[in-house]
């Protein structure tokens, strides 16, 4: 069964802000290669403010849009390749046409939440060319749910398949999200997405509130790698949805691996919840077991995540640190099994 929730991965777009738009081309390629079969709907790449935004005003990008798109395109076979553009920064001639020619599948056209009519030319142009197109409303906390609906409806009449609501300042609380997303989902046929920022540690809660209110697109980033306080960490949203039994097609271990290998090690981004903290929460095992698990994992050559999951299955409690070694030893003797199936099976 195909999941109803679409995962938009904006790591290589919003994350660009976090490193002043200096992500190397090898990272774009490697990231896309690794994430291609992880079960995401699309990967969005480019400068933090989208196509055409490399500038003295916002920050110059290390690589051109063209170079970035080419590197990503060559490494995505299953997952769709997406780009973002804000009219006023990029244009049809300079940016959208070259991106179409380079084989981009999904286009997101954004504007401030009151200016939807500035996206008309671009959305209509893309739809006319049979491109999958979404409107994006930025800084959505600044307007009422009614105004947001009015703006989203405009994007709908231009032909957008959906609208992504951005909480660009991380200023919303779950009730704000519910009011806005609920109003959109009750009154339009659009697919609705939510793009959170974590300024008040609400990114995940807000994303879940959006899903509960009718959103079906999560627009987030791995490890929350994004502007300022970062975004809704996709791997955490996925972990929660798997725990809730609402998401089956995503390879969570793969996402975690990319968080550790690329976001943390290669990009030196250390904000956010670590993989072990996440798996500890997901499996319901005392947080302070982490150091013990790390040591046992090295000693027995076992994935620390598997140790946590198994500890969770055994319902260990604080004070049972000795169980870590027992579990690790047992796991090391088991045949190597497929990580996804193991994870899912363990959760049942």
């Amino acid at each position: 069964m195909k999941d109803d929730i679409l995962l938009f991965d904006a790591t290589l777009r919003d994350g660009s802000h976090a490193v002043k738009h200096q992500i190397g081309i090898d990272i774009f390629a490697e990231y896309c290669r690794q994430i291609d079969d992880a079960g995401l709907y699309c990967v969005i790449v480019g400068h933090g403010n989208g196509l055409g935004a490399s500038s003295l005003q916002v920050g110059l990008s290390k690589h051109t849009d063209e170079e970035i798109i080419r590197a990503a395109r060559a490494n995505l076979k299953t997952t769709r390749l997406g780009v973002y553009m804000i009219p006023g920064f990029g244009t049809i001639t300079d940016n959208l046409e070259p991106a179409m020619e380079a084989g981009v599948d999904v286009f997101k056209i954004g504007c401030h939440c009151t200016e939807a009519d500035t996206t008309r030319e671009h959305i209509e142009f893309l739809v006319k060319n049979n491109k999958e197109t979404y409107g994006v409303l930025m800084m959505s906390h600044m307007v009422t749910p009614e105004v947001l609906l009015e703006q989203a409806r405009k994007m709908s009449t231009y032909g957008a398949r959906g609208v992504v609501v951005m909480d660009s300042a991380g200023a919303m609380l779950p009730d704000d999200v519910k009011a806005r997303i609920g109003n959109l989902s009750r009154n339009t046929d659009l697919l609705i997405g939510f793009h959170a920022h974590n300024n008040m540690s609400m990114a995940v809660a807000n994303t879940m509130a959006a899903l509960d209110s009718g959103a079906s697109i999560i627009d987030g980033t791995l490890r929350g790698f994004g502007a300022g306080a970062g975004n809704c960490p996709l791997e955490i949203a996925c972990a929660i949805l798997q725990k809730q039994g609402k998401l089956s097609d995503v390879n969570l271990y793969k996402l975690m691996d990319i968080c550790d290998d690329i976001i943390e090690k290669k990009l030196n981004y250390t904000q956010g919840i670590s993989t072990l903290s996440l798996i500890s929460g997901m499996s319901g095992v005392f947080s302070a077991f982490s150091e013990h698990v790390k040591r046992a994992s090295v000693r027995f050559g076992v994935d620390p995540r598997d140790i946590f999951i198994e500890l969770g299955k055994r319902k260990v409690i604080g004070g049972q640190e000795d169980m870590v070694v027992d579990v690790a030893m047992n796991l090391s003797q088991k045949n190597k099994i497929d990580d996804t199936s193991y994870l899912l099976e363990s959760l049942l």
């Binding site: 009519d117 500035t118 030319e121």
Partner: protein, 290 residues
């Protein structure tokens, strides 16, 4: 000398602001204000001024070609593409205020004389009228400038449906004008609409990348340019004289409108309508002298 007859097509913010300014002109007189809807705010405004109106858009000129010698087109880029050949056929001197780029790009302070020899001139964009002269002033001191970038922010309230529908052409045309007038190899234009209330004044920043800038010369050149623009756009102000920091030259410009049709915050209207009237008046005076 009797006034030269003009027509305005397009009754939105730009067309209506033009009309108010033409009412003050000693050489131009509006004999037709034509659009599509008698109920539009601009049309009602013009009716109060007693200006001849039509809701037949350009057809009103086709059926009565003698109503004017100069036509201002304040519709949209796509519509002007249709209008341009018709107006050329009618031998009207056409001042295009859309970013259609059919005619020669005109920044009066730079190439007014050359434009007087054309039958269709394009007024670029409000952002272009505000920023290209500054870039030109810098490039005239430093022809070796590597890159220009401008950021124009205007209040949402002053950007009518036509401007919004043309945001793409607006961005592209402003960039093209930067390249054309300065000879720089690469340039960028960024446009933002700010919905803040009360509305913000039109604000523009011009960045330039120059190897070893001669700042005193650049400042002189920019201040001189400011004075020359103020001759036809009174509310034009350089609010940050060129400063060199972080390897770039930054200059900021604000345009305070005269408050003719829309309030003072709409300097973006004034900068382009004043430029359009400047070229039309010069054309009218030259024709009158013949």
């Amino acid at each position: 000398m009797s006034k030269v007859k003009v027509a305005i097509i397009g009754t939105g913010n730009i067309g209506t602001d033009l009309l108010v300014k033409i009412q003050r002109s000693s050489v131009l007189e509006c004999f037709l204000f034509t659009g599509r809807n008698y109920d539009s705010p601009g049309m009602r405004f013009a009716a109060n001024l007693g200006v001849p109106l039509s809701d037949q858009s350009i057809d009103a000129i086709i059926t009565d070609p003698d109503c004017c010698d100069i036509v201002f087109d304040a519709t949209s880029a796509a519509v002007h593409l249709v209008h341009a050949p018709i107006l050329k056929g009618l031998s009207k001197f056409t001042v295009d205020l859309t970013p259609s780029l059919v005619g020669e790009m005109c920044i009066p302070v730079i190439n007014l004389e050359e434009c007087l020899t054309k039958d269709n001139v394009n007024m670029v964009t409000c952002g272009g009228q505000a920023t290209v002269p500054i870039a030109y002033a810098i490039a005239s001191v430093h022809p070796d400038t590597e890159y220009f970038e401008i950021v124009a922010s205007i209040s949402s309230k002053s950007a009518g449906p036509g401007t919004r529908a043309n945001i793409d052409e607006f961005t592209q045309t402003t960039k093209d004008a930067l390249i054309k007038f300065t000879g720089v190899k690469n340039a960028k234009a960024i446009i933002t609409l700010n919905p803040a209330n009360p509305p913000v004044l039109m604000h523009n920043t011009i960045y330039a990348l120059v190897g070893n800038p001669n700042m005193p010369e650049i400042c002189r050149s920019v201040k001189n340019m400011e004075k020359r623009i103020q001759e036809y756009v009174p509310g034009y102000r350089v609010t940050l004289d060129p400063v060199y920091e972080n390897g770039r030259i930054t200059t900021m410009v604000t345009v305070v409108g005269r408050g003719d049709y829309l309030p003072e915050y709409s300097g973006n209207l004034d900068i382009i309508t004043c430029a359009a009237i400047q070229i039309a008046e010069k054309y009218a005076m030259r024709e009158g002298a013949r």
